[in-house]
């Protein structure tokens, strides 16, 4: 089946990437994008969205005995907690951050997870290069949701990534060994970052975990491009244009 690659939010939903979504709605749209690939509705697609202020956590943290209390405390502080299903670790969200989700097909070969992260990171690195920013993938000790596929600039984390795999439906892949992959990035664009790390560390503390997020291990696009006007809007528009072309190649 040769399903088309589609920019989901433009053609499927009455959604502007500049609109700020509650975390549950944004995450649900990401999973709908993944489902649209696993069902064969499309071969690849992307979604760009902004999220209201919140903490998004993986399911494993909900097993902590202090989780309910910690989530309650964070709500009182203005940081509602939302559970996500793409693994990783706690990620603070705020409207000055840009979420980029890319869904596509892959087989589960030895380097499939790495390759799937690079499928997402490649166009982001190319976009940054066009702005004169040299980024690469690496872990950053002390960064939020650390992993080998952070987008890093001069040793500081600019974006975090996560990934979810789902088998293609039998009608789409008769062999049963093809998967749909959702690769997701959150880009620190134009936000007061210290609030994010304070909230994240507070949650860890309330959960009985050692707070580890260090502010100086992060950098935002606004800090890298201090004189750029309308940075958030222009970044979203440029990423939309780039990814619209990119998904046609997947």
């Amino acid at each position: 089946m040769n399903a088309p690659a589609i920019n989901m939010h433009r053609q499927d939903l009455p959604h502007s990437a500049l609109e700020v979504l509650p975390p549950a709605e944004g995450l649900a749209r990401e999973m709908a994008l993944l489902s649209s690939v696993s069902s064969g509705e499309r071969r690849a697609g992307f979604l760009i969205w902004r999220c209201s202020r919140s903490l998004v956590v993986p399911q494993r943290l909900t097993r902590r005995p202090q989780y309910a209390m910690a989530a309650g405390r964070m709500i009182l502080d203005g940081w509602p907690v939302q559970v996500r299903s793409t693994g990783g670790d706690l990620t603070p969200q705020s409207p000055g951050l840009i979420n980029v989700a890319l869904a596509f097909r892959s087989r589960r070969h030895k380097s499939a997870i790495r390759d799937s992260y690079m499928t997402l990171c490649r166009p982001l690195i190319e976009h940054l290069a066009c702005q004169g920013i040299e980024a690469h993938c690496s872990s950053v000790d002390g960064a939020f949701c650390d992993g080998d596929y952070n987008l890093v600039v001069e040793g500081r984390k600019l974006a975090g990534t996560a990934q979810r795999w789902r088998q293609l439906e039998p009608t789409v892949s008769e062999q049963g060994n093809e998967f749909a992959v959702l690769s997701h990035a959150v880009l620190l664009c134009d936000e007061r970052l210290d609030w994010l790390w304070q909230a994240g560390n507070s949650f860890y503390h309330h959960c009985g975990l050692t707070p580890f997020i260090k502010a100086d291990r992060h950098v935002s696009l606004a800090q890298l491009l201090p004189n750029r006007k309308a940075l958030l809007t222009s970044t979203i528009e440029q990423l939309e244009a780039r990814l619209t072309q990119y998904v046609k190649t997947l």
Binding site: G87, I113, S116
Partner: protein
């Protein structure tokens, strides 16, 4: 090369199946799958008593690198889940075919066993990927 025990059966989505007799099978994910995922940190399993059909999503495995759905390779009723994985998800990495098992089902259609892959065929699939 990943370990693929010859006495087990497999499905293309990288779950293994051990026939325990009397219509009961034990299910987990393969060595190849755990190697790919890396350090497993959380596993969501089906509830005991739930009826599942072959191909159904029955849970999620979260690792430090990614999360992945877990599928029912066969149809039946879930009769046991590995509760040790709640406290020790790393068992999936250290012993995927032993202490890292996921759940057991009582089969509703034993003929589905005939559709499973043997070790050689599964190994060939992994190598081809």
């Amino acid at each position: 090369m990943s370990n693929v025990p010859s006495e087990l059966k497999y499905v293309a989505s990288h779950e293994w199946i051990r026939d325990e007799g009397e219509g009961v099978v034990t299910i987990g994910i393969t060595d190849h799958a755990q190697e790919l995922l890396g350090d497993v940190v959380f596993i969501e399993l089906p509830e005991v008593g739930v009826e599942i059909a072959a191909g159904d999503e029955t849970g999620v495995v979260e690792s430090v690198k990614a999360a992945s759905d877990v599928y029912a390779p066969l149809s039946g009723k879930v009769i046991a889940v590995n509760e040790d994985l709640e406290e020790a998800p790393e068992l999936v990495n250290s012993d995927p075919y032993g202490d890292g098992w996921f759940f057991q089902i009582k089969l509703s259609d034993a003929e589905e066993l005939d559709d499973l892959l043997d070790a050689d065929t599964y190994s060939e699939q992994c190598e081809a990927e």
